[in-house]
Symmetry: C2
Subunit: 471 residues, 2 copies
């Protein structure tokens, strides 16, 4: 397989020709920028890769803007790279062949809210926190919450999930329909507002997670959920990571409808303590949330407390007020940034394996044992209710050996996950970083099928080329 | 649009050549049949269409059998039509161009049950009742239950759902991975046993609902669910259909996690009374089921009883014992056959619209008013918690006028559903019957995208050609 430490060798660059630049300027005026700082800002994400920035950045304001730009790009066979909040982790935004970055961050309109149907349609640049502010007054919320305040378009394109997925599903389950600009610059609408449909191929689900390589997602229709009547959050510390994970496994196998079930290892706890002054005991913990009626929540927590006790967990510490709860979850969402601050100047190589729940304990424990043995600074967090966990190895970018070591640890971790029926990526996507792993996981036949789909919808390879697999 | 009353004009027949028949015989012996009775049995389903039967039927016993057969078919460019239980409703199984029927009903092995992960892998011919018998001992169940005892392969291929979808989702949410034979006769595995993944294109979801046109599904990995601790079922009669549907809308908007919420109109009640001697009051009713802890179920039923009362519903009649419950749900599952018996010798034209929940009352009521006004015998049932309802028009196959009238009513019903953001098919699929509606619903652009995907994966159009759209 490809050594995942290396960037896949990029195909020939396809820079933006002057004639196209002129046409773009004529159509878009100062929505277009070629300023170096703007291009550089759009030429990297949270991944540890450096590649040349895109040749230009277009700040789109509408689906029509995107369609007009893609039609021009199609004529000149120039790559287009959709850009939302810039928070992807696997090199999704990097202009490996040059081309035009389509910044959708100004497309922030909540187009239609239908509270009675629990649906909403938004433009791709709406951020997840903005969406939740916009629907809260109707007694609704949107549960998917990757750590960053990502855009709904980006979350759709990477099939994101987060802490609530154990109960509410991922973007796969919560996207009902899309407006998409095809490689030919056509505007296509997929799905409906009905909860289910058997009408033809599931284009919506094909585009969710396609990382900008099959179409540019400009509008998204989502399922919303009623705000729970009652919410309770608690922390439970464990003697070791294995005990915390075994508790999680028991919770899931019992069918407890827990809303959130997050693992933090002692390094992660130390990091959020340092940044957010939480004063948590520095041992592995589960951070849990329960949604339901007062009685329902009481029932769930009684079961979970009993399971935790059986595995050596300490008494629950409750986040009693909504403010305390918010503070706790904010700390969880900052865990990544907090972790980075443990080693100033570092970058993180972040793993994202997701395994069948019964294999979770051995997968997490072995990964952390290997990281300790290697002596590389690291921390671990996990959406363990889903079987998904992240180890972040903190590397000094000036030390190629450290990068290499981190990638080696990642590879061991991923191959173990695949061997037990899991996946190399639960929620971050393939991007540039996991292309070798995708082949290991899916096999040549499935990847050939993916390539055939790509060739059918984007024959000139202009849509975010070089991501998921090489052209 | 195409008048849906007419079968799409079939492309030229592509019969099975003698040379291929010989090779099939050599490889498969008496697994192959060309007997007229066998071919005819495989040449129709529950749809009201008559077309010539396939040229031969192959009783496959393994993925390898399927792969070998498809490779031969690919060589001779002969259509292959996968066949499970023969219970599809929209002409999916009909050999419109001739070819080879691949009967998977002997592939009935439960390959791997992992109770601790709530997953199971089965061969495509396993029936849904067989699956539930096989996993019950582990305290698990598989909730998807179309009316017929369909095969898991067929349910996957049509993106089936049924009465539990309002709580547990459809095949879309419950299929984790597949083994598929491609148009080239290659065996490909999609998905993993992990609960979520962002690894490349979602081939699993593309194949779920593809109606045998993108690959032959031979094995399916499914999510299972813990048997609920407590189950309660109740019937509530209403003065009219509108009141029953308004109650449903309120239940869903309140976020009550009801497990089943089924509407039967008075004709459907009369039909199941006649066949199953239930003695139900012959007015519209909701047939409901609640899953959870004892306290959770009590809470849900209290809320729902209050909502029903507000809408003029009568007191709940409880199915007190598991036997009574089973009898009730068996009657619901027989409603289609019971309805057919109301008009001996008839065939049914069945609608399958699914709409956003807020539009459900007006959609159901108008459809039934129109059916009454037209004077055509009919009955209605609905998975109303999902916004999905079926009107079955009972037509005399000897009277073309009746077929035409039924199709006209269906068209009015579907166009109304599409206009309010719904779909022409919630769970039956497109098959032959709804190809015009698919274009109305999805638009030319989306259908062009579907055609491009088909052309990419099956360039010689051998996989169930003529279904979903014309070659």
């Amino acid at each position: 397989m490809n050594a995942p430490a290396d960037l896949p060798t990029p195909a020939c660059p396809r820079p933006l020709p002057a004639a196209m630049l002129e046409l773009l300027r004529a159509r878009f005026g100062d929505q277009l920028s070629t300023a170096r700082a703007v291009r550089e800002q759009h030429g990297r994400d949270e991944s540890p890769f450096d590649v040349p920035p895109p040749d230009a950045v277009l700040f789109c304001q509408s689906t029509q803007d995107v369609a007009d730009a893609v039609r021009l790009a199609a004529r000149y066979k120039v790559p287009v790279i959709p850009y939302g909040a810039g928070s992807s982790l696997e090199g999704h935004l990097l202009a490996v062949q040059g081309g035009l970055s389509l910044d959708l961050s100004r497309m922030t309109e909540v187009l239609e809210l239908q509270p009675e149907d629990l649906t909403v349609t938004v433009q791709a640049g709406v951020l997840r926190t903005q969406l939740n502010q916009a629907v809260r007054h109707a007694g609704l919320f949107f549960p998917i919450d990757p750590g960053a305040d990502a855009s709904i378009g980006g979350m759709t394109a990477t099939r994101a999930s987060g802490t609530n997925a154990v109960r509410y599903g991922t973007m796969r389950e919560n996207v009902l329909g899309l407006t998409v600009v095809t490689a030919q610059g056509e505007v296509v609408r997929t799905g409906t507002r009905a909860r289910k449909s058997s009408a033809g191929y599931d284009l919506t689900r094909l585009l969710v997670g396609s990382e900008g390589t099959l179409g540019v997602i400009t509008e998204i229709t989502l399922r919303l959920h009623p705000l729970p009547e009652h919410v309770a959050a608690a922390i439970c510390s464990f003697p070791d990571v294995a005990a915390a994970v075994q508790t999680t496994i028991a919770i899931i196998q019992m069918g407890v409808p827990i809303a959130r079930c997050e693992l933090m290892d002692r390094h992660a706890v130390r990091a959020v303590n340092a940044r957010d002054h939480l004063g948590l005991k520095e041992s592995p913990l589960l951070l849990m949330e329960f949604h339901g009626s007062q009685a329902g929540v009481a029932e769930q927590t009684a079961v979970v407390q009993e399971l935790a006790r059986e595995h050596g967990g300490e008494d629950f510490q409750w986040a009693a007020t909504p403010e305390e709860r918010t503070r706790l979850w904010a700390a969880r969402h900052h865990a990544y940034l907090s972790g980075l601050q443990m080693r100033p100047g570092c970058r993180a190589v972040t793993t994202d394996a997701c395994v069948p729940i019964s294999c979770l304990a051995e997968n997490v424990v072995q990964a952390l044992d290997e990281a300790e043995a290697a002596g590389l600074p690291h921390f671990a967090v996990g959406h363990v209710g889903d079987g998904n966990f992240h180890v972040a190895y903190l590397i000094d970018p000036a030390q190629p050996d450290e990068r290499h070591l981190a990638e080696q640890l990642n590879e061991q971790l991923v191959m173990r996950a695949i061997a037990c029926g899991g996946t190399c990526t639960g929620e971050h996507g393939i991007g540039l970083h996991k292309q070798g792993f995708l082949v290991e996981e899916a096999g040549d036949g499935a990847v050939a099928m993916m390539r055939a789909l790509k060739a059918a919808l984007d024959p000139d390879q202009i849509l975010n080329p070089g991501k998921i697999f090489q052209p």
